[in-house]
Structures are given as structure tokens and as C-alpha cells.
Amino acid sequence: MAAEPNAAPARPSDTTNHGMRVVVAWLVLSAIATPLVAIFVGHLIPPGNASTQGTEQVFDNTWMLGILTPVICAVPGAVVDGPPLRNDSQIQVLWIVITSTMVLFLAGFGTYELLQNGAGGGQGPNPIAVPTGPKLQVQVIGQQWQFTYRYPSLGNIESNQLVLPADTDVELHVTSLDVIHSFWAYELGVKADANPGTDNVAFVRTKGTGTFHVRCAELCGLWHGYMYNNGRVVDSAQFKSWASQAKKIYASIKPYMDKPEAQGGAPFGHTYLPAPERRAG
């Protein structure tokens, strides 16, 4: 009796076992690779451990790199395609189930991470994932081509360097005075769009003292590439001292910082709208 032309080729009897062996080998190798990745390249994994959110991202990146490592190592030996598998419903179902499970797991895991504390991302003007407890409010103001930072709870002082106290929950209100920018405090694991007329709220909990990089992550014009700076996380005493010093330094412009925007000032507000063009020249 002749075989039908589109019939599935006979699968080797050990195909299922082979697939199972691959999965088991992957799991075992991943379990071995993950701690090795953490030990040997953990310090290189972005974004760093300057904040709780940053540490969580390092953890995620570490285990993802851990389960990828066996695949990466196996690729050189797997470049040659195997025999084609056609009309094999078992393989098709397995493929759909596995890939769907992976996608749903990543979606669920991502949602869980976001709902914990926002994962360092901007949540818009009405954040859902709000950490409990007191928080230091800082308004991050993007302007072509520099970020400045206003501290409403410290008398509206403003600085062109982001200085934060260690082990503190910080509520960042990110906005822009002109075009779209993106506030990216790399080692803190914070990235939030800075849009004109929008108050984009992000949360971060600082850890130990140190420095971090801030740069714009949205192409914003001529000097976008130069729109970077260093920030500092300092201990509580140093932060108080810095704030006290800043109040003295910027005392001469405090009346303008405190004035309502309608009267030509620019007080802290959750929405920082650009002033109309008033060029006389």
C-alpha cells in the first residue's frame, strides 16, 4: 500500500525522549549557569545595585542570562537544521503550548514586578504602584539640553545635579519644558519619559552612597548626546548639609522659584507647562 504524499514522515521512536532530554539538559545547565553568571559577571550586569529597583533588574537580567547561556553555548553545534517535521500535530501543540506559556509567564512576571514598586519606570500622572511610607519628592525638569532637579520639600531649591539621600524612597516627577526627553538614571534603574505638560511619576528607593549617571534617552535635538550628568547618593547628614548650602546659594532667586507661574515664576507643580514665547527681538 502506497503512502499518502502529505503524510507525516515517520518520527524516530526516540523523538519525544530526545525533546525531553533537551529540556532537562537545558534546565540542569541553566541551574548551573545562573550562579556562575551571578558570580563571574554579576558586577557587569546592568543597571547596577544603587537602588532597590536596580537590584531587582540585575536579578532579572541575571537569571535570564543564566537560562540563555546554555542556548548560546549550544548554538555552534545546532547551526545545521534537523529533518523537517510536517503535519505532526503533537509537535505543533507542544510548540504552541511552550511558547504561549513563556509569553504568559513573562507578561505575568512583568506585571508583578511593575506592581511591586513601578520597577523604576514612569507611571504617568496617576501612578498605580505607589510604595508605602514617606517619600522625598523631586521634580526632574528636562530642557534642551540639561536636566535640573527641584526639591519642593526643601524650599523649592533647584540644582543641576541630582543629589539624593541614601536608603530613602524618592518620588520623581519627570517633565519637560520643551520637547520630549527621557530621564534615565542608569545605576538607579530609573527610566521615565519627560514630556512637556505631563507629570510622569516614577519611584526609586536608594541604597548605599555613591554616584550614578543621568542621561537623556530620547533623541531631543542638537546636543542630545551631551545631555548627561552625574548624580550622587549621599548619607543623611551630607544631604542635609548640601540642602542647607543650596538654600543659601540660591536664595537670590527664591522669590522667582516661589512665585506662581502666572506671575512669571515657576513654582513646583505636578504639571510644568512651557511658558509662551515672548521674544521681543
Binding site: 543641576n160 537670590s252 532667586i253 521674544r279
Partner: protein
């Protein structure tokens, strides 16, 4: 095509793109059309160089100096002539005495934070001969800012009703103007961009197009070079 050949081609394409981008960035100032101006050193032999930098800010650069005559611009005094050059070579570890003559009206700062001069000697500037530690943000015409050196200062504008206002540049000292003086020190060699923070580009959306986005007008570089 073999995998190795494909990878080689991709690597070659990425390298070529990287070289082109690097070439563009390294030649950014030349491609942007602003020749460099080496600010003459007053006392090169003394070990502590001093330079004097004279600048104009004008509302309209004029047809003699640009193909965009209505663009707002900085000009620098080079050998007695006002030139549209915004890339300035300065010696390292030098004292730089800057004089800015502003012939433009006020536009106002978007952020009053920039109303306080900082980064120069004493964190003060002289405006028309008087020392000031801030200006009214609404009176600001332009700023001169070198963010990497921490230098920011707002330049007050000419009153709207001032007589004999300058039309096209180069402007004369008989035209209505404000005079701003300050001193700063250069540090180690480096390539530092400077810019204006006031959205002063008339006719562009929110005042931030054209001359604000083009080196040679309201933006430039300080090339701080070892003596």
C-alpha cells in the same frame, strides 16, 4: 551563503557604519559650518595664560554674515572684526575674561533657575558696570552656558522701548545694548559645548528651531587645549 560569510558581511557593515558615525561626530563642528577661532593669549610666557573674549548677541545676524539673515546669533570679535564663529580655542588652566554685548530684546527664561549666574569667578557678573548675583528671569534675552564646566549666566535684554536699536548685525556700540562682563577659569583640556537656554529662535515652534539647533549661531564649542 555560508553562515561565516554572512557574519563577516554583517561585521563589516557594522564597522563601516561605526566609522562613518565616528567621522561625522569628530568632524561635527566643521560639517556644521563654524570655523574655529583661536582666542589670542595675552601673556603666553608667564605660565598662567589670560585671554579676553569679546562676544555680541544679535537678534538678526544679517546678510553679510549668514545666508539666514533673520536668525539670532552670537558673534565673536576676531582681529577687530565681528565674525560668526562659535567654536573657540582656549588655553587650558587659563583666566578667561569675557565681555558680552547684547543687542537683543528680552525673551524670558523658561526656568528661573538659570537667572542666577554660576560657575564664574565669584558667581557674579557685571551688568552695565554693576555687579549682580541674579537677574529677573523675565528680563533674560539669552544665556551663555557651558554645562560641563558648570557655567551658566542669563543675559538681560535691551528694553523694548530703547532708542536706536540694532537691525542687522554686526551692531555698533552706538546701538542700544547691554554689557555683561565676567571671568572664568578653564581647567584641563577638553571639548565642551556651550549653548543658549532661552528659546530665542523667532519664527520656529516654541522658539527652539533653526539657530538654536545649528552650530555657528546659538551653540558652539570651547576647545580647551594644552598650552
Amino acid at each position: 551563503m555560508r553562515v561565516g560569510v554572512k557574519l563577516l558581511l554583517i561585521a563589516a557593515a557594522v564597522t563601516a557604519a561605526g566609522v562613518l558615525i565616528g567621522f561625522y561626530v569628530s568632524h561635527l563642528t566643521k560639517l556644521a559650518g563654524s570655523p574655529a577661532y583661536s582666542v589670542p593669549v595675552q601673556n603666553a610666557g608667564s605660565g598662567h595664560p589670560v585671554v579676553n573674549l569679546e562676544i555680541q548677541t544679535v537678534a538678526a545676524v544679517g546678510p553679510k554674515l549668514s545666508q539666514n539673515p533673520n536668525w539670532v546669533s552670537y558673534l565673536v570679535k576676531d582681529n577687530g572684526q565681528w565674525e560668526r564663529k562659535t567654536v573657540w580655542d582656549l588655553p587650558a588652566h587659563a583666566t578667561v575674561n569675557v565681555t558680552i554685548y547684547n543687542f537683543d530684546g528680552a525673551s524670558a527664561l523658561r526656568n528661573p533657575f538659570y537667572a542666577r549666574p554660576q560657575g564664574m569667578v565669584g558667581n557674579r557678573i557685571m551688568v552695565d558696570g554693576k555687579p549682580v548675583d541674579h537677574i529677573d528671569p523675565n528680563d533674560a534675552s539669552h544665556t551663555f552656558a557651558v554645562p560641563a564646566l558648570g557655567i551658566i549666566l542669563a543675559i538681560p535684554g535691551v528694553a523694548d522701548d530703547a532708542k536706536n536699536q540694532c537691525g542687522y548685525a554686526p551692531c555698533q556700540m552706538s546701538n542700544a545694548h547691554r554689557t555683561i562682563k565676567f571671568t572664568f577659569h578653564t581647567t584641563t583640556p577638553g571639548h565642551f559645548r556651550w549653548q543658549c537656554f532661552v528659546p530665542c529662535a523667532a519664527g520656529w515652534i516654541d522658539g527652539f528651531g533653526g539657530p538654536m539647533q545649528t552650530i555657528g549661531y546659538m551653540d558652539g564649542f570651547l576647545n580647551v587645549k594644552a598650552a
